[in-house]
């Protein structure tokens, strides 16, 4: 009666942009400092650490953890509503639709491992995140690939999410504007992926 489904869906849609999309962008920007070498990166980390711990914890719980968990869990439910069929109907948008769901499932696993490993065990256990720590981690080819794929999946999921958000919120109505937005976002996806690849590879170069 109160259209609960509607509001949950719309909330799910917003969560994907704020805070999740923004947080992803923050990650990319901060990590891109790694291209400048260990000092630049550690300085960037240090800037974030200036935020008082108590405030940071509140932000992390209410601004990140809860929206993330909501988006992930409800998203998983949405994913289960679909029978992906790009092999049968190989249109670009249908591929994007399927990729959105496949990346969702991968990201679900990726984020849990990422957060549990780095935020809870490592940082929570008292070891600060640093260039050296990550460098050591990416020395392992498995971790390197896992993180690279995870980042690109997240970037795609975010960019394609912006495209569908424009449809879902009725912002882009006609096929021309929808296609335009889709292409622009795929271009953004490509650029962000290149930046990510660049800073990931930079660990191997330094």
């Amino acid at each position: 009666m109160f259209n609960v489904t509607f509001y949950i869906r719309r909330l799910h849609s917003i969560c994907g942009i704020v805070p999740m999309g923004l947080f992803l962008l923050e990650h990319i920007l901060t990590n891109a400092e790694a291209i400048g070498g260990p000092a630049a990166f550690n300085e960037a980390i240090g800037r974030i650490a200036l935020i008082p711990h108590d405030i940071m914890l509140v932000i992390e719980i209410f601004g990140l953890a809860i929206p993330f968990l909501f988006h992930m869990l409800y998203g998983l439910y949405i994913t289960l509503q679909a029978k992906n069929n790009p092999a049968q109907y190989g249109y670009v948008r249908n591929w994007q639709f399927a990729l959105q769901r496949w990346t969702a499932i991968f990201l679900f696993v990726f984020l849990i491992i990422h957060v549990v490993d780095l935020r809870i065990f490592t940082k929570g256990g008292g070891t600060p995140i640093s260039y050296e720590l990550l460098d050591q981690m990416f020395n392992n080819a498995g971790w390197f690939i896992f993180y690279l794929v995870g980042m690109i999946a997240a970037i795609f999921h975010f960019c394609n999410g912006v495209t569908t958000l424009c449809m879902t919120w009725g912002i882009a109505k006609g096929p021309r504007i929808q296609t335009f937005i889709s292409r622009v976002m795929m271009l953004v996806c490509l650029l962000l992926s290149l930046v990510t690849i660049a800073f990931m590879i930079s660990y191997k170069m330094h």
């Binding site: 259209n3 489904t5 509607f6 679909a82 029978k83 249109y91 249908n94 449809m167 096929p175």
Partner: protein, 250 residues
């Protein structure tokens, strides 16, 4: 006879709703402009498989053979289409026919699409007229709006869009693109728009427009070229406005 050109069909059959599907292959004599329904009619006349085994005629649904009744929708070479309007010359062989399994299968290629008609009840798919008796004249309409209504009103409830939509099926409660967009048709009408709020609220419920995942297969497969995604986006706009009204006007 020996060198007569034939068309090779591989048909997915199923005797009852619960029994296991199986395939049978048929060779149908070729003729120019042969369509899939006409080929199935040939199988009715000679229900013998490719290997010479006698079988029963294939069961399917068809009425008009002019792509206007919507009855003969099936999956042809992997895609949902109207069988009557599918000419064998335009597709690759062997031609594979299968029922649209988004819907419950009754027998062979025949499916049960009653859920679509039920959905039309849910979105209040009618104009609430007082009666069929004479009332004063009907309102004048903007011919451009009427033209849009005409386009949407071509929807023949064939179910192609539901079959192609990844979000419609036994795993989901989405009513599908066709019934959703039909609500826009009635919202456009000068009398029908009196119930716009009711329809939009119905669309905001579970299985309504929020279940659309923007795969946009619907607009690709619609045999009537209805701009489904455009109207879905418009409806999204409308339900968002309605949501604000629901919150702030009451």
């Amino acid at each position: 006879m020996a060198d007569q050109k034939t068309v090779h069909f591989i048909i997915e059959r199923q005797d009852t709703p619960d029994s296991k599907p199986y395939t049978e292959e048929f060779l149908v004599p070729y003729r120019p402009a042969l369509n899939v329904v006409a080929a199935l009619m040939e199988i009715q006349k000679k229900p013998v498989t490719k290997d010479g085994k006698k079988t029963t005629p294939v069961v399917w649904e068809c009425n008009c053979l002019e792509k206007v009744c919507g009855a003969c929708m099936m999956v042809i070479n992997g895609k949902a289409r109207q069988a009557c309007a599918t000419l064998v010359d335009q597709i690759s062989q062997p031609i594979r026919l299968a029922p649209a399994r988004t819907f419950p299968v009754i027998r062979d290629l025949q499916i049960d699409r009653s859920v679509m008609f039920e959905s039309l009840k849910r979105i209040q798919g009618w104009v609430e007229v007082d009666g069929s008796w004479e009332v004063n004249t009907a309102p004048i309409q903007d011919p451009n709006v009427a033209a849009t209504a005409y386009e949407i009103s071509h929807c023949m409830t064939c179910g192609c869009c539901l079959e192609a939509c990844p979000n419609v099926g036994p795993q989901s409660d989405f009513i599908g693109p066709a019934p959703t967009v039909q609500s826009y048709l009635f919202n456009l009408n000068p009398l029908g728009k009196f119930d716009k709020e009711k329809r939009l609220n119905a669309l905001m419920e579970k299985g309504g427009i929020t279940s659309c995942g923007n795969s946009q297969n619907c607009v690709e497969v619609c045999p009537k070229d209805i701009k489904l995604t455009t109207y879905l986006a418009q409806l999204n706009r409308d339900v968002n406005k309605q949501a604000l009204k629901n919150i702030f006007n009451k």
